[in-house]
Amino acid sequence: MRFAIPLLVLAVLIGFFAVGLNRDPRTLPSPLIGKAAPAFELPVLEFPKKDGAPPLLTNADFVGKPILVNFFASWCAGCQVEHPFLMRLAQSGQVQIVGVDYKDADADVRQWLGVRGNPYAPILVDLDGRTGIDWGVYGVPETFVVDARGTILHKHIGAMTPEAWEKDIKPLLVKP
């Protein structure tokens, strides 16, 4: 009997691995969920470019209706993947998408959006990535769902997909 013990241990381990395969160890629950969005004050990236200093926006400017806050950059591959879907989402008018351009040169973003179209209203510039740190961003793209009172409801890591939108995000926005 004792010679069968290794086999039993293996069976248990395989069971755990099989469960583990269907989970993503990277999806960490954000500690910010259910809390007020961290304060920020960021300049707007005007698209197309305008003369004069760009206005600064803060949390207060977005109170009143739910928004998606999408951290993106022109240098990020996942952002290219999700971009067509964000365009469709913006055009459908279901939600306002605020873009936060993360550690990126203004000229690069303008060119990137010029080629692909701009789903964002507006685009904020987080050049040194400090706002990203406050929000707990550890890789773009990441998308936060913020309700009308400025509370973070959900965080989506990686490229936004139609499935994630339908399953995880849309239901949050319908609720009062």
């Binding site: 010679f3 086999l7 293996l10 755990f16 691995f17 099989a18 583990g20 989970r23 990277r26 629950p29």
Partner: protein, 657 residues
């Protein structure tokens, strides 16, 4: 055309691997010598096919043929030639091909060096290796074909991950895989012995050189990986208890235990079923490492781009290979009877203790590595297990091993005598205590508990381990005849054990006396760390073949005289928009001075990370000594003599044993 040739060679290899598995098994059941003999030819044919595939992929890389999807994803026209060759194993598909290449290489070696093996054992070993080949080739062809074409053909490739553009990393995976894959031979020997029911001293003697060879490559691979992480990752450490490091360390611990239990099985005919189990476990842990790296179930810096389909395939493969081996073990192992009694105070008794400590240490690491996964699977939350757990659990468990090494060198087989042992060991013990007190004080002026313990264990291991060689030399009248009379196996063992001591010394000193400092320095400013003054001259742009770098200049002074000037770099690789740290190290046996460049501030100053690392070289030197010890032990003339004798017996017309 060339990629298609490679693809075709892989399909052909799969066909041959199937034959290599099935024919010898039928031959064994029917006692058909012709079918048994077919195993060797199949192994050689398979090796040829895989080699062709491997060369085809290498050619595609050298020619930067971006119509091959894998090449387009991992090469760039600016990539230097050496990294184009090493890019073959830079990502999942190609590294599997390398795995496969080595597996078929090991099988080929078995088919060539099998003359002294009984025909049925040799054929069974090759058949079992064929099962593993079949599984891996199926995996490759179904989920991870490196020859997949890409249309339209991109003009430029996405380039090799800059982390991998380093010489240490170019050779780290091949040596590591040689070790992982090499344990498949020990595994196959164990399974074959379970099938035939003959697990005796001769079996252990055949298995030993294969196991030692695999072990020494794994040792070197881990050492290289540690050295690379130190140089390339810019945080000055040499071991991080990352899940994938653990995945390479567990088979090492189990393999080390296996080497020692094989010695007991050969010399004393004991621990038979335990040895078989260890051989199965060692290779299974290697497979587990492959699974962990490629399935994405754990978070690690090493993880390949993961794909659940691939993970599932490897999981099923692992379940089949390990599961059937353990099933066979549960069925046949009870019949393996060990002859003779095991006395605990004897060399075999000490080796048993060594096995217990090594296996428990491996188990503790397994628990720590898989704990996050188990908690997550049970919905008990997300956690990560870090160095505090591993250090707390692992260090106390390996400390007794050092004591055992010294004892093992003087305690004889069968039965040891306490008085005699003490007579032989009192001088080494005294010397070790003296060194443990003097060395820390002499080098660093203060003693810490860890440094004294490390020096004690290290010195004890080195001195006691040399005893065996010393006594053998003294037994001869002349020193030179004595020197040449020492068998290579003994030299090898002594060197490997000394390597362990050197390693312990390095670890204890680098932890006890290392300095580290993060500073922000403006150009021409300086800072003092330990006895050294680090002056930051400034940073300039520098250009490499496929990157641009900010290169800092740091002068180091000790008192009045200049020690070195270092040029750490912050490299930017445009093809992947990746920033890499290239730290600069002034290395010497007694201490490393290490500078890595951090971020630039708006006022022109830079953040710098500076380390003084006493004796860190000894950690890798220890690994290299263990590797060299393995080389010597595996090439002992005992194994070659036995082979020549058996061959002569065959020529004389006698029946081979």
């Amino acid at each position: 055309m060339i990629p298609e040739l490679g693809h075709f060679a892989l399909i052909l290899a799969l066909g041959i691997a199937l034959l290599q598995t099935v024919a010898p098994l039928i031959g064994y059941a029917r006692r058909d010598a012709k079918l048994l003999a077919f195993a060797g030819s199949a192994a050689q044919g398979q090796f040829f096919c895989i080699a062709v595939a491997y060369v085809c992929l290498t050619i595609s890389f050298v020619d930067t043929d971006f119509s091959v999807a894998y090449v387009a994803a991992n090469a760039h026209t600016d990539l230097p030639l050496i990294y184009r060759v090493s890019a073959v194993w830079g990502a999942h598909e190609g590294s599997l091909l390398l795995w496969m290449f080595m597996l078929s290489g090991w099988t080929f070696a078995v088919s060539v060096f099998n003359r002294r093996l009984p025909a049925d054992l040799s054929a069974l070993v090759i058949a079992i290796l064929g099962v593993i080949s079949t599984g891996l080739l199926l995996f490759m062809l179904l989920t991870s074909n490196p020859f997949e074409r890409l249309f339209p053909v991109p003009l430029q490739g996405r380039d090799l991950n800059p982390l991998l553009q380093d010489f240490g990393l170019a050779i780290h995976p091949p040596t590591l895989y040689m070790g992982y894959v090499g344990f498949s031979v020990a595994f196959a020997f164990a399974v074959a012995a379970l099938i035939t029911g003959k697990l005796d001293a001769a079996w252990a003697r055949w298995t030993r050189p294969w196991t030692t060879t695999a072990w020494m490559f794994l040792t070197l691979g881990i050492t290289l990986g540690s050295w690379w992480a130190y140089n390339e990752l810019g945080w000055g450490g040499w071991w991080f208890w990352d899940p994938v490091e653990n995945a390479s360390f567990m088979p090492w611990l189990a393999g080390t235990a296996l080497i020692h239990s094989l010695a007991v099985t050969e010399k004393r005919g004991l621990l038979k079923s335990w040895t078989a189990l260890l051989a199965i476990l060692t290779f299974s842990l290697s497979l587990l490492g492959t699974f962990l790296v490629r399935s994405g179930v754990l978070v690690s810096v090493h993880a390949f781009a993961s794909d659940p389909a691939r993970g599932l395939f490897i999981l099923i493969f692992m379940a089949i290979v390990t599961g059937s081996a353990l099933l066979l073990y549960a069925w046949r192992a009870p019949k393996l009877v060990s002859i003779g009694e095991l006395n605990l105070f004897s060399r075999e008794g000490l080796l048993l203790f060594n096995n217990v400590f090594l296996v428990v240490a491996a188990a503790a690491i397994l628990v720590g590595t898989l704990y996050p996964l188990v908690l997550d699977a049970l919905n008990l939350g997300k956690i990560s297990v870090g160095p505090p757990y591993f250090n707390a659990v692992f260090l106390p468990m390996i400390a007794p091993l050092f004591v055992l090494v010294g004892l093992g060198a003087v305690v004889p087989w069968k039965k040891g005598k306490v008085g005699e042992t003490w007579q032989r060991l009192k001088l080494p013990a005294l010397a070790a205590v003296a060194i443990a007190i003097v060395l820390p004080l002499a080098l660093h002026g203060r003693a810490t508990l860890l440094a004294v313990t490390g020096a004690l264990l290290g010195a004890w291991t080195i001195i006691a381990a040399s005893q065996d060689v010393w006594r053998r030399i003294r037994a001869k009248r002349q020193f030179i005849t004595g020197l040449t009379s020492v068998p290579r196996a003994v030299w090898g063992m002594t060197l490997a054990h000394a390597g362990l001591g050197v390693w312990a010394l390095g670890v204890a000193f680098v932890i006890s006396y290392g300095f580290e400092k993060d500073v922000r320095l403006a150009p021409n400013a300086s800072t003092e760390i330990g006895d050294f003054t680090f002056g930051f001259v400034g940073a300039q742009e520098a250009k490499g073949p496929n990157f641009v770098a900010q290169q800092g200049e740091v002068t180091i002074e000790h008192g009045d005289h200049s020690v070195a000037t270092l040029y750490p770099q912050k490299r930017f690789y445009p093809s992947q928009r990746n920033v890499m740290t290239e730290s600069a190290v002034e290395a010497s046996l007694l201490r490393d001075l290490y500078v890595s460049l951090g971020e630039r501030f708006d006022d022109g100053s830079w953040s710098l990370r500076i380390y003084v690392k006493p004796m860190i070289r000894l950690i890798w030197l220890g690994g290299v000594l263990m590797f060299l010890g393995g080389c010597l032990a595996a090439s002992d003339r005992r194994y070659r003599l036995a082979m020549a004798a058996d061959r002569k017996a065959v020529l004389d017309g006698a029946q081979p044993a």
